[in-house]
């Protein structure tokens, strides 16, 4: 008999249905993956199961049964008693899913106090054992710590620990690792699977990452616009997708492109022993020591070349990228552009450098001014150098928008665009002035698989067409395979390995690179 039975589920937002006629089941001990693009209704479904739809969403029909018991018919108190030991949920954002004002010990013990008859000492023992189990060292002392004292990965593990402590029969995990870097992501997911196996829990895993599905799920359910389009055992479904949408998803997985030959030329931009440090937090009377983030890095990029910069979270990728655009001041070393030292340039001389370089940020939403129309955003770079008539600027912006496939959307505000469309706007803004060098800082990490594929394609095409050099910052090796000519690996603010793409990916020399490659999930089969 299956543990969870969902039949004919309908979720409405006002008059609009966002989930329609959805039926699926999860068997005891099974892992079911819910996949689909952003906004297809995955989270809404998960929240409906646990009975915590956000305000504005309504469970409008259909049956949800846990172990044969119809949840929608239960009084609130009974339903509350089921939450925790019956079903637990791990949320996507490790940073906001723990209460910042409560010690983690209290937060973990809270569920035990509510659902078990253990006394305080026993609860504490259980918490310590669980923390140890998820790999938090010195658990006894850590019980008294607050969430902000842990890293993202640790928090996600603590979150998992607090849920698993109640031995839920069903574990719902809504994109539990998207906010984590590749290495941590693999660790947390493995841990989750392991705990579930030990306790015999079933998992409802929500993700947009087909790689994860292939590695961790028994069965998969593909959703599109609130409806199930395909369901079946994970491996065959991914190997031979039947539905067009599933096929598109699978096709969107990155593939290695052919290696290019870059004609030899003097470097376009060159960092020589570049160091960047953040000022330490000082008081009124004492200045703290600066915190080095990039240490003596030398890197040169040639015209038309795409260099991928990979590394774990906090390794200094973003810092290096910004320093190469002089958005951050260097604390040591020098920066050369076209053979000229631009390290200390300012005023009009710096403007020349600015005009030649551009950046595309990770978060397409926060990098676009939400109060400007798309057309104005794209036209804004053309203010400089002065001289172009406003009408010409708008015409040029429209042409650029058409080029990135956004013809006719110039009137919209960023919020009225999808994530992929927003990132296209950001790319259009970066390219409209024909820069010689572009830094793309995690430009596709926030996008779901299909959209990411489209944006990568766009970037690649534009790069081929315009021939700008590009520093592509990412933690996703799949993207590297697709687009990079050369790969640079960073760790702790230093470059630990560097070389042509195929060489670094196929025969990694450094341990760190090998670990990164092992953690990176690729579709199997």
């Amino acid at each position: 008999m299956s543990l969870l039975e969902v039949a004919g589920l309908r979720i409405a937002a006002g008059a609009r249905d966002i989930v329609r006629d959805l039926s699926f089941s999860v068997a005891e001990g099974e892992t079911l993956a819910l996949v689909g693009e952003s906004g297809s209704g995955k989270s809404a479904t998960a929240r409906a199961v646990i009975g915590l739809l956000p305000p504005g969403l309504r469970h409008a029909g259909g049956r949800i049964a846990l172990a044969g018991q119809d949840l929608s018919a239960l009084p609130p108190a009974t339903l509350r008693a089921l939450r925790g030991p019956g079903m637990g949920m791990v949320f996507q954002e490790p940073m906001t899913s723990l209460n910042p004002a409560q010690r983690i010990g209290a937060q973990m013990a809270e569920g035990l106090a509510l659902h078990t008859t253990l006394d305080a000492a026993a609860r504490k023992r259980a918490c310590i054992a669980m923390l140890e189990r998820v790999g938090i060292t010195d658990p006894e002392r850590r019980l008294l710590a607050y969430p902000h004292e842990f890293s993202g990965g640790m928090r996600q593990r603590i979150m998992l620990a607090s849920v698993m402590l109640l031995r839920p029969r069903l574990l719902i995990a809504d994109e539990p690792t998207t906010a984590l870097d590749t290495l941590t992501q693999a660790e947390v997911l493995a841990l989750m699977k392991e705990l579930a196996r030990e306790q015999g829990s079933s998992i409802l895993l929500i993700t947009h990452d087909l790689g994860l599905v292939s590695r961790h799920a028994d069965r998969a359910l593909v959703m599109q616009s609130g409806q199930a389009v395909e369901e079946g055992p994970a491996a065959p479904l991914l190997a031979a997708p039947r539905h067009a949408y599933t096929r598109a998803l699978v096709a969107a997985l990155p593939r290695r492109g052919p290696a290019r030959v870059i004609p030899p030329a003097p470097p376009l931009i060159e960092a020589r022993s570049l160091s960047v440090a953040y000022p330490g937090r000082g008081g009124w009377f004492r200045r703290a020591a600066p915190m080095p983030a990039v240490q003596s890095v030398s890197l040169s990029i040639h015209p038309g070349e795409v260099v991928a910069l990979v590394g774990g979270s906090g390794s200094g990728k973003t810092t290096l990228g910004r320093a190469m655009l002089r958005l951050l001041p260097a604390s040591g070393g020098s920066l050369l552009f076209g053979g000229q030292d631009v390290t200390a340039r300012s005023g009009p001389a710096l403007l020349d450098f600015r005009l030649a370089c551009q950046i595309v940020f990770q978060d397409p939403y926060s990098s676009l001014d939400p109060r400007m129309r798309v057309r104005d955003i794209v036209a804004e770079p053309l203010r400089l150098p002065a001289g172009m008539a406003p009408a010409d600027r708008l015409a040029r912006a429209e042409a650029m928008l058409a080029e990135v496939g956004l013809a006719g959307l110039g009137d919209r505000f960023p919020h009225a665009l999808s994530g992929g469309q927003r990132q296209r706007v950001a790319i259009a803004r970066a390219l409209v002035r024909n820069p010689a060098f572009v830094v793309a800082d995690e430009a596709v990490s926030a996008l779901d698989a299909t959209v990411r594929q489209q944006v990568i394609a766009l970037l690649r095409d534009q790069q081929r067409k315009r021939g700008f050099a590009c520093l592509f910052v990412t933690h996703d090796l799949g993207v590297v395979e697709e687009i990079a000519d050369r790969v640079v690996v960073m760790q702790h603010g230093r470059i630990v390995e560097e070389g042509p793409r195929d060489q670094v990916l196929d025969a990694p020399a450094h341990d760190y690179t090998r670990a990164l490659l092992a953690a990176s999930v690729r579709l199997q089969g």
């Binding site: 929240r47 915590l52 925790g84 949320f91 906001t96 899913s97 910042p100 004002a101 809270e110 009377f285």
Partner: protein, 314 residues
């Protein structure tokens, strides 16, 4: 911790100096002469000059300022030029009254308004929510001198529950003291409830959207506990900051209420000193108020980590 407090107090010195200087020179810019006020319509030029000399007002402004500053640095706020009392003890004496009223009122207001605001946020859009918001707006639009008189007429005169005028300290007769400060506290509390309800409601709405609230619910935590244990500390933290600002301001600024209820408080002292151009008192009170303001905000900053441990004090 002690070091931190010391540092913060040292950091407040420029602000205090600025306050001292601006009060000193602003007051001298204002037309009006304390000697003239004491002598009234019968003043002659000679008697005014004599009195000004006796008050030390005949010296040049920078000299007066320097003298005053060195006096203050030695811990002496000088003597009132109208009553001859020492300003320091005078302020402390009056501050007791003001502090009793303000602290009681703000505490009551917070005890009523924060739960009300949180409940309103919890049931956002319900009739209860609308009622709470309207009540808050209504309370916000009544001037305190008006509300105070109404309360005085109703509870003091009509019902005779509390005395209309007078004051004794708690040390003398706690029960009677309660009767004397009941109405001013109620007036101030009602006004503050208006402000606090809106504040508490807004920050609770923000907090209730966050994942950890959903997480708590997903653990099966009952609603009252969600509100109390999970939403409250987080929603209260921003309210606390504003509470500090409000409190700092009130401690020096309830002159109107003190006048209506005939209480010998700091606000009335200041207003009366301004009207009498009693420079040493004005300067002393303003300096004191600034210090209280700095102190209250320091206390708030020290308390803040209790509600939001992310902000550690040092």
């Amino acid at each position: 911790m002690a070091l931190y407090v010391l540092k913060r107090l040292l950091a407040a010195i420029p602000t205090l100096l600025l306050v001292a200087a601006s009060v000193f020179f602003l007051m001298r810019l204002i037309p009006g002469d304390p000697a003239l006020l004491i002598l009234g319509d019968a003043a002659t030029p000679e008697s005014v000059a004599d009195l000004r000399a006796a008050m030390g007002l005949d010296r040049s402004l920078p000299v007066q300022f320097g003298l005053w500053l060195s006096q203050v640095a030695a811990g002496d706020l000088g003597l009132s030029i109208t009553s001859g009392e020492a300003v320091g003890p005078l302020i402390l004496d009056r501050f007791g009254v003001t502090a009793a009223i303000v602290l009681a009122a703000v505490a009551i207001a917070a005890l009523v308004a924060v739960p009300a605001g949180m409940l309103a946020a919890w049931r956002q859009g319900s009739w209860g929510d609308i009622a709470a918001v309207s009540l808050a707006t209504l309370l916000l639009s009544i001037p305190s001198f008006w509300l105070g008189l109404i309360l005085l007429l109703v509870f003091g005169l009509k019902l005779g529950w509390v005395p209309v005028v007078g004051y004794v300290t708690f040390a003398e007769d706690a029960w009677a003291a309660l009767g004397y400060i009941a109405l001013p506290v109620a007036t101030l509390a009602l006004v503050e409830i208006g402000v606090l309800i809106r504040m508490a409601r807004a920050s609770t709405i923000e907090v209730l959207r966050l994942d950890y609230i959903a997480h708590a619910r997903a653990k099966g935590v009952p609603e009252h506990r969600v509100l109390l244990r999970h939403a409250f500390p987080n929603a209260f933290a921003p309210t606390l900051t504003l509470l500090g600002l409000v409190l700092g301001n009130l401690l020096g600024g309830i002159a109107v209420i003190e006048t209506v209820f005939t209480l010998p408080g700091l606000g009335r002292l200041l207003v009366e000193a301004i009207f009498a151009r009693d420079y040493p008192v004005i300067q002393g009170v303003m300096l004191f108020i600034a210090l209280v303001y700095v102190g209250v905000n320091l206390v708030v900053d020290l308390l803040y980590p209790v509600f939001d441990p992310r902000v550690a004090a040092s």
